[in-house]
Structures are given as C-alpha cells and as structure tokens.
Symmetry: C2
C-alpha cells in the first residue's frame, strides 16, 4: 500500500490511474475512493472535488478503455479485400481482449454505470463500435430484402456477437470454470474467425 508523499499535480488523472491500478490487483468490487485518496496522499474527500461519485470515476476508466480499444482496432494491418480486412479486425479484437483482459472486462464484462448518466462514456463506446460497423459496410449489402444500412448493422452485430462471445469465453470466469487449456484456446481463435468468414460469405442459393 504505497502512500505517496508528494501530491500529484493532476489529481483527476491520478485518481483514474490509481483506481485502475487498484482494480488491476484487487478487482473492481474492491475499489474504494478512500483507498485511492489514501494512496495519493490526499484527504478522503479530495477525489470528490473532481468526480461527483464513485460511478463517475468508473465511467471515466471505462471510457478510456473504449478509447484504447478503438485505437487498437484502428491500428490493425489494412487489406484491400474487405473480407480480409474484416478478418484482420476480428483478430485484432480478440488480441486486444486477450492482451488486456482487465480493460475488456470493464467494457463488456461488468455492470456498467448507467450509460445515460454518463453520455461521454456512451459516445466513446459508440465510436469503437462504429469501426466495426464501417468494416462490415465495406463488404457491401448481403441481402436484397432489407435496407443496406440495416443489413450492415445486423451483420456487424453478428460479427460482434461471435467475437465478443469468443473473447468472453476465453477469459471469463466461466472459462476457468470449464478448465480449457491454452492449446485449445489458440486453436479456437483461428477456428471461430474462420467460421465467421464462412458464415458471412453470401450463401450460394438459399433464402434467409
């Protein structure tokens, strides 16, 4: 429990970083603003001068996670073939979830602070989703009986579902409960992403 002697210059930022550090080692349910304050060497009420409530700190942490996530997705290798590009995005998605399980769980695996109370967080989350949506849109419309927009959204949600489910399965408590080993995990990523591909390519001749 390191107690800093010198008070940090940017207290709001320091709070968020320290809170994240606490979550990292002790889990989100153990986060307490008083502990944050204590480690920063300020009074137990100082953080409240910058964040109206505990949830507002959490919302900021989550929002930053969405930012980093979007940045990671955006920095994937690009391909001209939109299917290849989407595949690459899936890989990047899962890679991020595996490399930053904490952030991923904060975004998708824990009850979020009510989004309507934290519109800033909501906006930054939507931006991350829009990246996926764009990649799908580049595939072109898959169905004729729906508007292109709606079809794109549906497929985006399909891909998201799969890839999100994959990420969850790999690192959620449920996976620990099932005791998968690492070899299966690696194979699974390739497997699922391939399956998404075959699922997305327009079926030769069968109505939806």
């Amino acid at each position: 429990m390191p107690v800093r002697k010198t008070k940090p210059a940017d207290l709001p930022d320091a709070c968020v970083r320290e809170a994240l550090a606490i979550i990292e080692t002790s889990g989100v349910e153990r986060l307490s603003l008083r502990d944050v304050a204590r480690r920063l060497g300020v009074s137990h009420q100082a953080p409240y001068k910058h964040f109206p409530s505990r949830d507002h700190i959490l919302a900021e942490i989550v929002a930053r996670a969405f930012d980093a996530f979007a940045r990671h997705l955006d920095s994937r290798p690009r391909h001209n073939d939109p299917y290849e590009d989407l595949r690459e995005m899936g890989v990047a998605y899962v890679a991020y979830a595996r490399a930053h399980p904490l952030q991923y769980r904060l975004m998708f695996g824990t009850p979020l602070p009510d989004p309507h109370q934290h519109p800033d967080m909501m906006r930054r989350a939507q931006h991350a989703f829009s990246l996926l949506n764009d990649a799908i849109a580049r595939l072109g419309p898959q169905e004729v009986d729906r508007s292109a927009d709606q079809a794109t959204t549906l497929d985006a949600l399909y891909v998201w579902s799969t890839v999100h489910g994959l990420a969850s399965v790999l690192q959620t408590d449920a996976a620990k409960t099932l005791e998968l080993d690492a070899e299966v995990s690696d194979a699974l990523v390739q497997h699922v992403i391939a399956r998404i591909g075959t699922g997305l390519r327009p079926p030769p001749a069968s109505p939806d």
Copy 2:
C-alpha cells in the same frame, strides 16, 4: 421494504430467494446480507449461521441459475436432424437469456465468486455446458485433421461464443449504450442463428 412478521421455516432457502429478489430490483451490487435478514425478520447475523459469507450466498444463487438454465435447455423440442436440434438449442439458449436476463447475467455477465472456492457451483455450471457439447457431438466430426473430440469442443465453443455473444449484446449494458431498438433485436436473433447454421455446415471445398 417488506418486513416479514413470521420467521421462515427454511431459513437458508428463504435467504437465497430473498437475496435474489433484492438483486432483481436493485442489482447485485446492492445486495446486502443485512437487508436480507431485515426483510426476513431475523437478526443481522442469522444468515451467517447457514452461509459462511456473502459470496457463498451468491454462489448458491448462481448455481441455481445454472440448474434452471440446464433444465430449460434440456426441455427444448427435440429433432432427429442434429443440425435442426442444434438450431433449436440455440433458440432455447437465447430465449432463456432474454426471458431471464437477471439469471443470465449472474451466470455470465458478472464477476463470479472464485469457482475453485465453490466447487458445487462449478459442477452445476459444467453440467449446463455439457448439454451444448453433447448436441454438437451429435453432428459428427467436421474435420479430418483433428481428433473428433477436439473438433466437437471447438465447434461447441464456437456456437457458444456466438450465442452467448448474441445474448450479451442483446441485454448487456453495452447494448443499451448503443441504443438498439426492439425490431433490430428480434431480427438479429433469427439472423445470427441462421448465420451460425451456414457457418457450421462443412464448407464445400476450402481448407481450414
């Protein structure tokens, strides 16, 4: 805040039910054993005579959710065609998640009590997954270059990923954040389950 006058006969069971009721209306993070005791008209320490800690009550709630979930999956309409049967299972899976969002979130959407501390919960969770696994196994091996068992597990996890991701997307806070409307949700279920089907059928001629 209903305070019961008559003390319940089966206190452990009453605790679990009352705790679930509290979670239902106020969320899991607001659950307090003291509140449970208060509503049951017993002292704040009475529940601790039957549950060593708050987590043990949660574990029991989650375990019961897995039981109910497994029962629901098991009572789906059966088909001889294993693909049809699997489809039916996907429908049942998502239906349960939509009908009992609270239980579903308790199982997959919130940090669980450490499974190794609650082996009973773990066992009942594994049983639920085994149902899905069995349904996939009935498809027969999809690939020749892997053992049948491993291929089955991979496909089971693929299906689970998709269907779990779908369920999550539909009811998680993240979905609220994205503001999907009900029409899209309904279409999405059909859409995704169809896509799983086309993804699962062995591809005509393309290496994995």
